[in-house]
């Protein structure tokens, strides 16, 4: 059972008797939970602690007696479902352990459930970890009285490219439909038909004869996402006529034109089913009715070795269960961590793990042959020798810039920070492989670094109001979205978002939009609406990745927090960013939030690191490292997991890698950076090393090494490199970095100054707005075609007036081309209520590589025109 909110206030207890044992439980506790308190397991399928009670499967029947008005304990005439009945004082409950009635009832329900359940356990993915299988063995009977032919359906329906539905295995517990409605907010499947024909289904023509004449789904706006009443009526009338047809009386259904391959079906909104949380339905399915295409038939549960893990994708740090077989990860499941992700995770965290085992995985150190100019595999000692000599030479010739990237564990980030200061004697280190600003750096030093555990998921859930500033929770931190939605539904939380348009995620949060032109977030944070949104005590402001591209936004956020008393939390997009801040992988920060400019802080760290002194000059940030390297002012570069296409100017980054005389790349897979590098040192992906991520809360998320591997973590490689360079880092071992960082402790002295006042950039005629979608063309989603199939389609969005201004008549669909002097991107157009003169593009979706092609970010001017192939619609 998952306890998500440890209650602090004393609660009313009710006392009841279960199987002759008296127990006191909080008022409102379900009988099935009360029995769990006593260690009595009542079999169940539909019951799930995080979903509302449904009483759908009837497996948990128990005998209940209650006191009547006179106080006489009278048995209820029939067994009751213990998953829907709350405990009341004086109740006497008898489970299958003590009551033959309830035992017989459960046996009967099990026999009924198994009537139409195929006994294909040998080929079912759930076989071996199946609640139905287990409970049929524990509470069922060995034989069935049913001798007729079982109802069959064509196998399986492809609900999305990733989720397969096998209807004949389904026992109609409705866990999946309840999850989709209550938790994710993407109702894509539902119960259909009646009686023996009842089934879970998509809203597909094959099941309900559900025909909707839709325009091209690509051009649908957010208002159109709701199914029209007309189309629903049409579906139900078709259902009746079809239900009466003879075809169904035979017990076998028409082939539905559905196969296990091909295009994903459309959901009820007419879009391909693209919930970001669909994997959870597979995990909570108590039978093998929902299976995942990626894991299908790969292994049986008894083959798998399970290791705890932490997701390496976003900054939420969801707990995972990593299942592997023979040195290969076969699947990942959401682990139960009430403090962080409860029992859910997003599809990216669940399925995007094949990136680490791609064909371009680096297995040996590579050194560029001076004669041929090609990278040649060499031994570790030789590669370290060449790398150390080259870095030291570059250090003495002008310096080495360090770009660790935002995907490191705390240990690795700390090793980079220490390596830069001790070996390279520089503060030229910046983990921000993305858009960044000096204001953000000052904010991180002022309000984030060394602050420990700040706003937590629990506080976020309890907060009466949350302001999302430049953060798309569903796309950029999916677990935050689920927590927010939970309390929006249960507690009436108010969510407000500062964004150009109301995303699907915000609509599902019933949120309010403070419509903002990108780049003007600072002004929006200063409006009375923003202040009103967080005026209730206990409110939280979440600062998202987009604020870094909005001048003055951090300052405005600090001012708003000070004025309203709301708590601030910084939510970066990548898993390693908070840890890198803590480890001091910034030009102005040393570990633990110590400012470089503070002499006492430098002495503090120098003493701990056993060096004479640390460089006092604040270093160059990512942009300046790249500029100086391209200008030939910085001869050396030490680069971790950085994709130049994530940087504000990818062309400049390539030029810097080209110009720099010595580049060392620490990479898991061959990449753009490793192609330019003089020495490539292979490092381990998260599954092959242990470590700690620091999530956005500031919570330490430790995880062990899952796979046996000889690959070294970044920290271990840097430690060896430092030894080769004649300096000791003392960071050998998995947890050495975090242990040393913990020992350093937090900085108690003066913090970095508040970010300086910035003037607001004047708005241009047409400005770009962009953010990354959860599923896009990121390097960490490579090798997962099934997952990529559920990504939202890339569209460009403009306001109706802007579209009219382009010459697009009302009701006409088309494509637009967004261009600047670097390049252009053409995407289908979706007309969306948003500020005029703004065009939105997904940052890195297929066909929309914004940074790589336009080198532009939020608030940058672009030129908008109608693409040549504008189609005339209805």
């Amino acid at each position: 059972m998952t306890v998500t909110e440890p209650s602090k206030t004393p609660v009313d207890l009710v006392t009841l008797t279960i199987d002759g044992i008296e127990v006191s439980v909080p008022k409102g506790t379900l009988l099935i939970r009360a029995a769990e308190e006593l260690g009595i397991a009542i079999p169940r399928f539909c019951d799930h602690p995080l979903l509302a009670p449904a009483g759908a499967c009837r497996q948990c029947l128990v005998e209940v007696a209650m006191p009547d008005r006179e106080g006489n304990v009278r048995p209820m005439p029939k067994p009751q479902a213990s998953c829907t009945m709350t405990a009341s004082p004086g109740m006497v409950v008898k489970t299958q352990l003590t009551s033959p009635v309830s035992e017989k009832a459960q046996r009967g329900v099990m026999e009924l459930l198994l009537i139409n359940h195929p006994l294909d356990c040998p080929v079912c993915d759930k076989g071996g970890e199946c609640p139905l299988q287990n409970q049929a063995m524990a509470n069922g009977q060995g034989s069935s009285r049913f001798t007729e032919v079982k109802r069959t359906f064509p196998k399986p329906i492809r609900i999305s490219t990733q989720v397969l539905l096998d209807r004949e295995r389904c026992i109609l517990c409705q866990r999946c439909t309840r999850f989709s409605k209550e938790i994710a907010g993407d109702p894509f499947i539902d119960l259909q038909m009646r009686g023996a024909k009842q089934q879970i289904g998509t809203f597909s023509p094959g099941v309900l004869n559900f025909h909707v004449d839709l325009p091209d789904p690509v051009v649908r706006t957010s208002e159109e996402l709701e199914p029209t009443p007309q189309s629903l009526q049409q579906g139900s009338s078709e259902d009746e006529s079809r239900g009466a047809s003879h075809e169904h009386a035979t017990g076998t259904y028409a082939a539905d034109n559905l196969t296990t391959t091909g295009q994903a079906l459309l959901d009820e909104s007419g879009q391909p089913f693209a919930s970001y949380f669909s994997g959870n339905t597979i995990q909570i399915c108590p039978v093998g009715a929902l299976t995942g295409a990626a894991y299908r038939f790969r292994a049986r549960p008894f083959d798998l070795v399970s290791t705890k893990g932490v997701c390496e994708h976003c900054s939420s740090g969801c707990a995972l269960r990593v299942d592997h077989r023979r040195g290969k990860v076969t699947r990942r499941l959401a682990a139960d961590d009430p403090a962080v992700n409860e029992e859910w995770n997003c599809d990216k965290g669940r399925w995007a793990f094949n990136w680490a085992t791609g064909a371009d995985r680096l297995t040996h150190p590579l050194v560029r042959d001076p004669e041929t100019g090609e990278l040649e595999p060499v031994s570790w000692p030789y590669a370290l020798q060449v790398a150390a000599a080259g870095l030291l030479k570059a250090r003495d010739a002008g310096g080495v810039g360090v770009l660790p990237g935002g995907r490191l564990t705390v240990e690795d980030a700390y090793a980079y920070a220490k390596f830069a200061r001790v070996v390279l004697r520089t503060n030229d280190i910046d983990f921000r492989a993305r858009a960044h600003s000096a204001e953000e750096e000052a904010f991180l030093g002022h309000a984030v670094a060394g602050t420990g555990l700040g706003v937590t998921f629990a506080e976020l859930e309890a907060a009466p109001a949350v302001l999302l500033a430049g953060l798309e929770a569903e796309e950029e931190a999916a677990s935050i979205f689920l927590r927010l939605r939970k309390s929006v539904l249960n507690k009436g939380k108010k969510v407000t978002s500062i964004a150009p348009w109301a995303s699907r995620g915000l609509i599902k949060l019933s949120g309010t939009l403070i419509q903002t032109v990108p780049g003007q977030e600072a002004a929006a944070l200063g409006t009375p609406e923003a202040a009103a949104a967080v005026s209730t005590p206990g409110s939280v402001i979440l600062l998202g990745p987009r604020l870094t591209e909005s001048s003055g936004a951090y300052q405005a956020a600090l001012a708003l927090a000070a004025a309203t008393g709301a708590k601030l939390a910084w939510v970066p997009r990548r898993a390693g960013e908070r840890g890198a801040v803590e480890a001091g992988a910034l030009p102005s920060l040393l570990p633990g939030g110590r400012p470089v400019s503070d002499a006492a802080a430098r002495v503090d760290i120098a003493a701990a690191w056993d060096v004479d002194s640390l460089p006092a000059q604040p270093g160059r940030d990512t942009a300046r490292i790249i500029d100086d390297a391209s200008a030939g002012l910085l001869p050396g570069l030490l680069v971790g997991g950085v994709d130049p296409d994530d940087l504000p100017d990818p062309a400049a980054a390539r030029a810097a890698l080209e110009t720099a005389s010595f580049v060392v790349s620490l990479e898991v897979r061959a990449s753009t950076v490793s192609a330019y590098a003089d020495v490539v040192l292979p490092v381990a992906p998260p599954a092959e090393k242990g470590g700690t991520f620091l999530n956005w809360e500031g919570r330490w998320r430790e995880f062990p090494q899952a796979l046996t591997s000889e690959a070294l973590s970044d920290g271990e490689v840097l430690d060896s490199l430092a030894s080769e360079a004649g300096e000791g880092l003392g960071l050998r071992g998995e947890k050495a970095g975090s242990a040393e960082l913990a020992q350093l402790g937090r900085w108690e002295g003066a913090r970095t100054e508040r970010p300086e006042a910035h003037t607001l950039a004047p708005a241009s005629a047409t400005v770009l707005s962009t953010w990354s979608m959860l599923l896009d063309k990121g390097r960490l989603q490579d090798g997962e075609p099934y997952l990529a199939g559920t990504a939202h389609r890339a569209v460009a969005r403009v306001s109706p007036a802007t579209a009219t201004g382009l010459g697009l008549a009302a009701g006409v669909t088309g494509s637009v081309t967004v261009s600047n002097d670097r390049g252009e991107i053409t995407l289908p157009l979706a007309i969306t209520p948003m500020p005029d003169g703004v065009v939105w593009l997904p940052s890195n979706s297929p066909g929309s590589p914004v940074r790589a092609r336009l080198a532009a970010g939020n608030g940058d001017p672009v030129v908008l025109r109608l693409a040549g192939d504008a189609l005339m619609g209805a």
Partner: protein, 207 residues
């Protein structure tokens, strides 16, 4: 002990003691005229008992599709951890067994196998049985004693077409298990011919 007592009684036997030095050969002489139990194994091969547990075999349906569904129950049952199986999806282009799933990888490590037959009992489709064959279970290398799927598959009999090919048209998985499919049909042969026909030019070019 018994021999000693026998010797004691012989020594008290008088004239028989004259034969004592060769009395022991009595057994030898007598044995020379009994049936020989020793087998002249490499020269003369004697059939095993009918239910002898020899090398495994992965059986086929009468039309040549494989019976193995890759369920790994044999691997689960194996007390010596000698079996390794990986399942995979049948597709329309490549069908190895009726139904959804087939065994893509099937290995038995005969260095580990104790030929106990528990895997045979576990198999839900009678895909895995044991033959009387034992002579192949030897070899100079360890790797050679890990038998792959192609080493274990039953030989093709009359009416069979080697997988992959589609199921007999109009049949379901159930029909296969109920014995309604008795041999490959011309449609299956045509499908195979169409596929191999496509490949022929490529093969010739390769040669």
């Amino acid at each position: 002990m018994a021999d000693r007592e026998q010797n004691d009684s012989d020594s008290s036997g008088g004239w028989l003691s004259a034969f004592a030095p060769i009395a022991g050969f009595g057994v030898t002489f007598a044995t020379m005229f009994t049936k020989v139990v020793t087998e002249e194994y490499p020269e003369q091969k004697v059939p095993t008992a009918p239910r002898f547990h020899g090398r495994h075999q992965l059986n086929r349906h009468p039309d040549g599709l494989e019976k193995c569904v890759g369920c790994e129950l044999c691997a689960w049952a194996c007390p010596a951890d000698a079996i390794y199986v990986e399942g995979a999806d049948n597709t329309e282009e490549e069908r190895f067994s009726p139904g959804e799933r087939y065994g893509r990888v099937y290995q038995i490590n005969y260095l580990r196998c104790i030929l106990c037959g528990l895997c045979i009992e576990a198999c839900p489709t009678r895909a895995l049985t044991m033959t009387n064959e034992y002579e192949q279970l030897k070899g100079p290398t360890r790797a050679g004693l890990i038998f792959e799927k192609q080493d274990l598959l039953a030989p093709m009999l009359g009416g069979m077409i080697p997988a992959p090919h589609p199921m007999v048209p109009g049949t379901t998985e159930q029909d296969y298990y109920q014995g309604k499919v008795t041999q490959a049909v011309p449609e299956q042969q045509e499908w195979v011919d169409a596929r191999t026909g496509d490949d022929e030019p490529a093969q010739e070019a390769h040669r």
